[in-house]
Subunit: 202 residues, 2 copies
Amino acid sequence: MSCQLNYFNGKGRGEIIRMVFAAAGKSKEFEDRRIEFKDWPQEKTKAPLGQLPYIKLNDKEQTTVGQSIPIARYFAREYKLYGSTNKEGLLIDEIVETAFELLNKGAEAKFEKDETKMKTFTEKTAPEKLKLLEQEVTLRGQDGFAVGKSLTLADLQIYVTIDVAGLDKMLSEYPKLKANVAKTAENKGVKEYLKTRPETSF
Amino acid sequence: MSCQLNYFNGKGRGEIIRMVFAAAGKSKEFEDRRIEFKDWPQEKTKAPLGQLPYIKLNDKEQTTVGQSIPIARYFAREYKLYGSTNKEGLLIDEIVETAFELLNKGAEAKFEKDETKMKTFTEKTAPEKLKLLEQEVTLRGQDGFAVGKSLTLADLQIYVTIDVAGLDKMLSEYPKLKANVAKTAENKGVKEYLKTRPETSF
């Protein structure tokens, strides 16, 4: 059995894991199990933390583990998408954490369909966090990458956040982030995945 | 110059980093710079993400990096408090993430002094998350430890969460967590630190 990712049939908090597989050229080596909302009540009991995503590892015990970023980081380490030193790992994590917070705020505002929250997100939270990410990428990265000189989990999380939170139209004000998103989309495995992934509503 | 931690004069989201240093026996090798609230407006401009905690590394560039858990994880790797395999790192991260979410929910409810939020936290959020953590520790740990057979970042984050969110009175219903908290407090460096750390209001 290959390793199995369990997540809803959407991008949300599961997409970063799929993107790690894509960038590593491993999309075909894991099972992308997509759960429909109607099946969630019965599925919930199988999820180790009662939430999605979770992964079923390809080990003797078929260990199941929850939490999106920990899973993505595990595979990023496995596939050398986590920098080459402990310090690079720290710089990557700092960006991933900041970008994931932004994704969560965006997803929350969208999901609740609360106009005031959406306005706060678009006019305040998103510009503030994008400015910080722009600074980080400027300081840490080279040649269009977020940290160091090659693709890492940081680039993938920035890409996913911009995509899931629908922030691409704001990128003209953040040239480094804009260049970074374009750079990630050029990655061979990512490019292939983006062309073939299912269309979903979130 | 030694490495410098910048955080408010409280436990909150900075304590996990101090606990990593303590467990590693390195408390005296870093500067624990505690910032008073009144000084925060002028301090904020120096913080890389406009928030605390942040660390100033002891490298040539004196790199400053924000985000609590990324910093704690960096030093946990440095001091061998992050397991011995990539998989152990994943299991540690899963618990750290879950326990840190619980700390944040508790801190939020306390900080806002909102009675309804506090009630939801005490009667719903905390019991639900503690139950999950109890399950995880039961599955992953041995000899009282959270993951594997030695002290890691997971034990330290559980300890800090219980402490900061004031959940110690609820632990009688979670025997594995209770034993785990006691185990962490036995660690030589932790024990020494807990005896000498300043009393703070949060």
